[in-house]
Each structure stands twice: as structure tokens, then as C-alpha cells.
Symmetry: C2
DNA sequence: TGTTTTACCTAACTACATTAGGATATAACC
DNA sequence: GGTTATATCCTAATGTAGTTAGGTAAAACA
């Protein structure tokens, strides 16, 4: 049959499709109508698989955090110290460039009560902690240093994807410098 | 008359009201209907004063940038060097806490073709340049250093307002440390 | 004072999210 | 294999928001 009587959707397929639309066409284009069209069904049918647009966005947020957690862990496996920081920063930036909309969703956590989301976010934090503990950081110092590193990297990539930097001067070079600044700050944290 | 026949609106009043709603109730509540209700008119009437929701948001973005430009300039008047950096950072954070929604609008510039917006954004950059030139920075070094400082401060405050930090460890203390890290980095920029 | 302009209105249209209820393919079971 | 049950899809209809068209009366002006 050219048009199968059932599309054979799953929550997984809907989330995957939503992710592609969000990252390729922007978050504004992410409507149930648009997703349904892409999947060859009508928008009310999606309610069988996701809990409305709100529920879908929660799933996207979780998906984004899971990908980040995985990529960050892979990035720092087998390395430590300065090189681990550089690889973490690079994998962070790569993720954001590949999934700009997904990333923006992961930031808008808004007092997240979802247990699973909290767990994956905790995994990401643990990866950072593992990297920074090599520098002798622990306790509150570790927390402050982590906040600093997250701020600098998140700040850079979020300004970058929203077009906040001019392009006459190379953003790659700026990012390289920022990585080195972070590295040197960790070597003798206040 | 209890109900005046004309509300006597101006673009200014509409923008001001929109700003209050956005910052107090969140960007999601910022609808023409909500603004009209607040002003005692019907939503189509707003089209006399602003160019739809899109035009209103552009005005809000401009308004946000103008306030920022003014506050940052005032913050660093009469001081220079380390203290100027600290005051800039503090006024940045204060603005974002007071106008979280307005701030988020200023970040989503998206290849802004608006000449006025570009001009005000340039003013803000000039203030930062003026502060950092004291450290002997110029040319590309100045650009890189500026990007670093913006990234760290923007990163911190945007993570902070979106609830990205736990509260067991004081965010104020983290921010104080970040300011000192930035100061020391400027003293011997790479 | 008469005329024009402006600021508001109602009515109506579009887009999107959502719910209710129905049809049938697919799966489960006998 | 035939019957039943469930799940997946549908159409129809509702609510909210943005927007446009066109009307009316207040305000500005000459």
C-alpha cells in the first residue's frame, strides 16, 4: 500500500521528529501541526503519544540533557586536567551548535520538579565535578569553580548562537582563549 | 466621567505596560489581550500604537538595551580598573534581576537589522571597551577579553535567573568570586 | 463652525492547542 | 481461524491569541 492505514508512531518517533524540526527550523516552527504534517498524521493523533505540546517539550528537554550527559562523559574519558577542561568545553560548544533549540530548552528548567530531569542534570554536574576535583577543589570551592566554568562556557555559546558576537574577529579564537583562561583559573582557584 | 471615552494611549504607555507585565508575570503572559485589558481597551486598539506583537517586542528589546546602556554607564562613572569591572558586573546582575524578561529579549537579537538597536548595543560595547582599555588592551585582544567578560557575566546571570544553580551554596558568593576571577584575568590577559 | 484626522470599537478570519467521540486496523485471546 | 478488545488514527468542535477590515465618535484644526 502506498499509504499505510496506520503510521505506526511511537513517542520516540514523535520526539525525534520534534527535535529535528526545532533544531533545523527553530523553536517557533515547533507546532503539533508541523510535527503531524511531517509524520503524515493529523495533529490530534499526536496526543496518543505525547501529553500535548507541554509534555512534548518536557521530553525534548530530557532528551537534550541525556545527549549532553552522554557526550560530555565521552569527551572527558581517558583525559584529565587541562585537556579534560578543553574537551569538555569543546563538546559543550559542539552540542549547542548542533542542537541550538534543544539546548535552549534545557536551560529553561524553571524549578524543575521532574525527577528524571533532575537526575540527568545531576549526572552532568558530576562529570564537571570529576574534571575539577583533579585541581584539588572540593566542598564549596568546587561548587563556586563549577559555577564559574559553566557560566563562562554557557555564556559564550549562548551569546554565540544568538548572534551576539560580530564576526570580524574569530569566535573560534575567542573560545580557545576562554578555554585557556578557565584552565589557568582552575590551577589556582581563589 | 468614570470611563473616559478615549484611553489616551501612546506607544510609550503601551511599551511601559508591556514591560511591567513581562517582568512581573513572565514572557508567556505577554499577550496583546493582556496588555489591552491592563489599559482598559480592546486588543485591536493597540495596533494604533504598536506594529503587532512582533513590533512591540522589537520596541521592548530596544527599551531594554537603552536601560542597560544607561545603567552601565552610570555604574562605571568616576571609577576605573578593578572597581569599574566590579560595578559593571553588579549593575548587569541588578538589571537582569529586575527585568528578567526584558533581558532575555535583548539577548535574542537574531541578526538584528534594526539600526537603532545596533546603535545602542554598540554603546554598551563601548562602555565595556572603555573599562578594559585601562588594562592596556586594544585591537583583537580587547575584543577577545570583552567576549570573555560578557560570557562569564551573561552566563552567570542567565543561569541564575533560570534556576540553574542550587541554593545551598550562596550565589552571591559565587558571583563575588567570579568578579575577582575576571579582574585578575584582565590584569594579565593572554 | 465645519471638516479632517485619530483613537477607539465590533466583527470576522487565521493559526494553534486541545477535547470529545467515532471508525477501524491490529493485537490478543479463545 | 474467528471473535473480541485495544490502540491508533480520524473528524468535528471549542478556546485562545494575533490580525485585518471597516465603522464611529472624539479630538484637532482650519
Amino acid at each position: 500500500m502506498l499509504v499505510p492505514p496506520r503510521a505506526g508512531l511511537t513517542t520516540e518517533i514523535v520526539v525525534e521528529t520534534a527535535m529535528k524540526i526545532a533544531d533545523k527550523e527553530g523553536i517557533a516552527q515547533l507546532t503539533l501541526f508541523r510535527i503531524a504534517e511531517e509524520l503524515g498524521v493529523k495533529s490530534p493523533s499526536l496526543y496518543e503519544h505525547v501529553d500535548g505540546i507541554e509534555g512534548l517539550i518536557k521530553l525534548l528537554r530530557l532528551r537534550g540533557l541525556k545527549i549532553m550527559a552522554r557526550e560530555f562523559q565521552r569527551a572527558v574519558i581517558g583525559v584529565s586536567g587541562d585537556e579534560a577542561i578543553r574537551r569538555f568545553a569543546d563538546s559543550f560548544r559542539s552540542f549547542v551548535k548542533e542542537h541550538p533549540s534543544l539546548y535552549s530548552l534545557t536551560v529553561e528548567s524553571d524549578i524543575e520538579d521532574d525527577e528524571e530531569i533532575r537526575a540527568v542534570a545531576g549526572e552532568i554536574l558530576d562529570t564537571i565535578y570529576a574534571v575539577l576535583r583533579i585541581y584539588g577543589l572540593s566542598g564549596e570551592k568546587l561548587i563556586h569553580a563549577t559555577r564559574y566554568m559553566r557560566s563562562a562556557i554557557h555564556g559564550f555559546v549562548s551569546l554565540e548562537i544568538s548572534g551576539g558576537f560580530g564576526l570580524e574577529v574569530s569566535p573560534d579564537e575567542s573560545f580557545d582563549l576562554i578555554k585557556e583562561v578557565i584552565v589557568s583559573n582552575m590551577k589556582n582557584w581563589l
